[in-house]
Symmetry: C2
Subunit: 126 residues, 2 copies
């Protein structure tokens, strides 16, 4: 059961906003992801059905343990990709971040693992 790129973005966004602001609300997420609140609500419904988040009506969003695990996994992908672009290819941070955000959803596990090793090696060498 593969999560769509969009739902992965929501999940990752929830984790990020929680870490930044202590809690993640619909409006925070809408701001972070540059979408409107009703779009957030609609997507949260799907994440609830998948058991990845919980939310009391009109309240802040909670990640379930499986939701948190998945969000962390996606977030880790993001960071390795960003490190590769920023530290290895020396791309400016903003572009590195944007590219990471798009590629994290489509890169294969195999390629991601090799890239992780590659980035590690580069860090040690410098």
């Amino acid at each position: 059961m593969e999560l769509s790129a969009s739902l992965q973005d929501y999940l990752e966004g929830i984790l990020f906003v929680q870490q930044e602001k202590g809690r993640a609300r619909v409006a925070d997420l809408a701001g972070f992801l540059n979408v409107k609140k009703p779009s957030v609500v609609k997507s949260l419904l799907k994440l609830k059905e998948l058991g990845l988040i919980e939310q009391e009506p009109y309240q802040a969003i909670q990640l379930t343990s499986s939701g948190r695990a998945l969000a962390l996994k996606i977030s880790k992908r993001h960071n390795v990709l960003k490190d590769f672009f920023f530290q290895v290819l020396m791309i400016d941070e903003k572009t590195a971040d944007r590219d990471a955000c798009r590629i994290e959803h489509v890169i294969s596990s195999k390629t991601f693992e090799r890239l992780t090793q590659f980035v590690e090696k580069h860090k040690k060498a410098s």
Copy 2:
């Protein structure tokens, strides 16, 4: 005017199939892209409206000069990405190709250019 990932795939596919088989027909493209023929027809209509291809009813697909230029550009991206995965990261060819196919649509020009340099440098070094 940015072409969607899907339309980029069609355009690139047309170029590829033409090179392989001499001409690109709806059925060839459907096979290559793993979609059904009516989906191809629908997408070709959009590419026609954008002036990227021409097609007489029930006949093979022709790239216009701007369509060809764009297809070549996309194809080049694909090849550099594939080279990076296959030759630098030593990913198996099939996976390298699949990742290239997905990432070519989302990578920024800036990052792509740096990656191109990086791959060139690696080729010389080996």
